[in-house]
Symmetry: C2
Subunit: 237 residues, 2 copies
DNA sequence: CCATATTTCGTACAGTGTACGAATGCGTAC
DNA sequence: GTACGCATTCGTACACTGTACGAAATATGG
């Protein structure tokens, strides 16, 4: 028996909007994985019907573009005036943290070629920090490609790990190593027994080492020649 | 009118096998993209019917695992006896080249948590080269995480670029920059006009810079302390 | 020949994105 | 009021996905 008054037929759910669709899509992806984010599941989460979403979004691809941009908007921007090194350090750590929270975003990056405003803003601010610090345009391009490659690649590896926290390493690693036949993969075995399976191991700790090494290298590159183009070292021989 | 003799009813197509299924899947993904790789399209390419594939493969996920492992098998292994630096350099360049050929593989890595034999072999050989060069276990872990993060991240960025070759940069970049409203993204504009749109620009060239910087840093790290654990630099202040 | 195992594949089902067009509600002008 | 026009909601339908189930065809061994 449907109520007839117009007042009650629009139930008191908050009205739909593009914003709300995207935020809810992000929440669903976080909660149940990107594979569980379907038009129908999203509509259910919003208490609507599937086809209603298409008034705010052209297609599913636009939703994916949108939530990737939302993820980017969570990353700390380097402050405009500060030194480049702590700025880049903070940004890198923040990006890694954000990408670990939304690990499905990494896999999406490969197929998304239309960056959103938050993504563009993020890139612009980062480039600006480097340029303001005296990096040449060339050197800025080098530094940016290097830093972002490292950040994304690290996040990708972290996402692909079969274990999530430091606690569950053994339960996952042990049975895999057991499967290796007698003499196979000796160095993987060593790495497992002498490093990964040691108490307190956490892959995430590796991030800092590489990040500092890269920032050191960049610092050296610009102090050498004021940010000019040549590669960081020409090895003799 | 079906032929009745058993001889002619089995047409002279080469017999199915797990190997053939995976190799064909790889070819389809390369030719038409990973999105076009479906059980039905794969069966068509193999001149069979969809359900026949399931005798050689448990499900589609196993196919994806399989072709990722095939991709890994294409990457040059560092030779066992050689110096670590040229070995790592060659491996990195080879990995990048392979991942550029099969750019869909990057996006797959995030969701694949069961590495195949070629993948394990690859990791083992790389670890072995570093250990043989005198890297400590800790330092090997650091170096490996760093190098692979850079390689995967670079490949991911390369895959996400809207343009493929050096030729098409302008056609893609120009209209995007045109869309920016008046004062927005000044540093992106600068990077576009003064670097990306310059003749001869190729993002792929950035790879070498970062790779050399990382290898320099690693070389310094092990010569400092014989591959001991501490980070590459402790900055004063 | 038959019996058994391996391999092929036809049919069916639940789930996907979304095109199309019909309903419904809402704001304004008469 | 009432009628129009627009924004919004959504029902139905279609082509396509992975794959469960079981039947058919073929190969193998006695």
């Amino acid at each position: 028996m449907p109520e007839k008054s117009s007042r009650s037929s629009r139930r008191e759910r908050t009205p739909l909007s593009r914003e709300r669709v995207l935020r809810c899509a992000l929440a669903v992806a976080d909660r149940e994985g990107i594979g569980a984010l379907t038009i129908r599941s999203l509509a259910r989460a919003l208490e609507t019907k599937p086809m209603s979403l298409y008034h705010y979004v052209a297609n599913k691809d636009e939703i994916l573009d949108g939530i990737v941009d939302l993820v980017f908007s969570e990353i700390d921007l380097p402050s405009a005036g500060g030194d480049w090194r702590p700025g880049m350090h903070r940004r890198a750590q923040s990006a890694r943290r954000v990408l670990r929270c939304h690990s499905w975003a990494i896999g999406l990056l490969e197929s998304r070629t239309t960056p959103g405003p938050a993504t563009l803003q993020h890139h612009d601010a980062t480039l600006g920090t480097l340029r303001a610090a005296g990096f040449s345009v060339q050197m800025t391009a080098h530094a940016y490609a290097l830093l972002d490659s490292y950040i994304y690649g690290f996040a990708l590896q972290e996402a692909a790990l079969p274990f999530k926290g430091p606690g569950t390493v053994a339960e996952v690693t042990e049975p895999i190593v057991q499967l290796f036949s007698a003499g196979d993969y000796p160095h993987l075995r060593e790495m497992a027994s002498e490093h990964v399976l040691q108490p307190g191991y956490d892959f995430g700790n590796e991030f800092e080492f590489g990040l500092d090494l890269i920032l050191d290298g960049l610092a050296a590159s610009i102090s050498d020649r004021g940010g000019a183009l040549p590669p960081p070292a020409s090895r003799p021989g």
